[in-house]
Amino acid sequence: MKDIHSFLCSPADSTHRHGPHDRIVMSSRVRLARNLRDFSFPGWAKKPERVRVLDTILPAVSALPEMADSFAEAMDNLSALDKQLLVERHLISREHAAKNIGSGLVVNRAETFSVMINEEDHLRMQALRPGFQTREAWQAIDKLDSSLERKLNFAFDNELGYLTACPTNLGTGIRVSAMLHLPGLVLSEQINPIIQSVNKLGLAVRGLYGEGTEALGNVFQVSNQMTLGESETVIVERLEKVLSQIIEHEENARQTLLEKKPKVVFNHIGRAYGILANAHSISSKETMNLLSFLRLGVDMELFPGTERSLVDELFLITQPAHLQKQISDKLTAEERDLIRADMVRDRLKNVSRPVVKPSAGGAN
């Protein structure tokens, strides 16, 4: 069995990838859903049919030039821990992590492409980019799709477009999304009205791991919902426009907070630092929520000499599967909390307490 952990680059390297606006937009992705014309969708197909689909698609995807250096494996060959690790890296969905025989995965080492086979559709292929690069991600996945359609017979209808298992993905089969870090909007209590107005534009706002998950660490995913009746370019452009507006709102919220309520901001950041740098037992959820304020502190230059990548790396390696992978033994949740706290304290030992900005010393 190949080890996904040693195949993928280290969390330290992966969090050093930079992209435009990455202080707010953590990553961009575009996913396309495709199905083979002559087979039942994965949720309805019997096991032998799913295996045949996997055996058809896996070699075709692995042979793509973009996948020259890739990890290709059937899901039943991956351990539960490996699957969880892939979820934490946002390379597969939680739904795909639950799959076994007849499902598969191809991911390249640079983590710029990830193709899930027999998730909800025969093919869910995604391009991932650091920072705000939705357009680049669309161009990359468009190209991958075009090379793949020469080898596979996709289910396509002139009227309805690409046919998908769920009618919500019909047509273009596209989902454009970005992961946003929005502590300013959360602290200034503007996040709910923003979410509502984004919803009204036909876009969805979700938590860290997509559908039905919490916005841990003030991280939100914004994505399109409608896939039929508009071209991919129009959908990408609308999302770009909305994302630019959210970025602007977040920047403004941070600025206003610093001017009007500096004590509230510094209190959150200072307490987050205090706990993270001194705790001896800490849950994954609390860690993420506090790291969000540490990240905000780095953005606000309260930790001179500390890079954002240090926080981003901690955000990744303190999650359960990443933590477990570094320690060989099986750990209980309580043991993990102890090790997590040790790890965070150790990483923060050279980070001094947040500076107090003289300009913001006013009453609150």
Partner: protein, 167 residues
């Protein structure tokens, strides 16, 4: 009145939605309404999705004693109601009627705009070009421009079409 999702708690949120000429009603309890993201009825256009294919249509089919089934994969309307997913690409043809209202409420339009597989795109372009050439040919013949017509006829033949006979 019971919540139509969990079928346990009393329904306190009542939604009525009119899509086209069909009216749909949903009665939800507080929790299910929240879970489904129904706190703002104006942004909510998914009543169909939660209940499967248009309820009215299903009643019609049941009354007539026939249940629609996909000939290719055996998937039925009841299966769709359970999972919200279809069985195979062919299902879109089988359930076309029931799906059209659903698609209307779910998407921007009901006709695909955007990328198509290259092979199809080419043949589509070809059809369009042939149509345009046939038109030009008819006009050339009408105008008694026989030299132009001959050239157009050759071009149509080259694209694999049959030139229309002169009237």
């Amino acid at each position: 009145m019971q919540c139509c999702v969990c079928k346990e708690k009393p329904a306190t949120v009542h939604l009525t939605q009119i899509v086209g000429d069909k009216m749909q009603k949903l009665d939800l309890c507080e929790e299910c309404a929240k879970a489904k993201g129904v706190n703002d009825p104006t942004s909510f256009a998914m009543a169909d999705l939660m209940l499967g294919l248009g309820a009215a249509q299903e009643l019609d089919a049941a009354a007539a004693g026939v249940e629609l089934k996909c000939v290719r994969c055996g998937f039925s309307q009841a299966d769709f109601k359970k999972s919200g997913r279809l069985g195979c690409p062919e299902c879109y043809r089988t359930f076309a009627e029931g799906l059209s209202g659903l698609l209307k409420s779910m998407h921007k339009g009901t006709r695909h705009v955007g990328k198509a597989p290259e092979a199809l795109r080419q043949s589509r372009d070809n059809v369009d070009r042939l149509k345009a050439l046939q038109k030009k040919l008819a006009k050339a013949i009408d105008d008694e421009n026989y030299e132009g017509a001959a050239a157009l006829r050759d071009e149509i033949k080259m694209l694999g079409g049959t030139p229309a006979k002169s009237r």
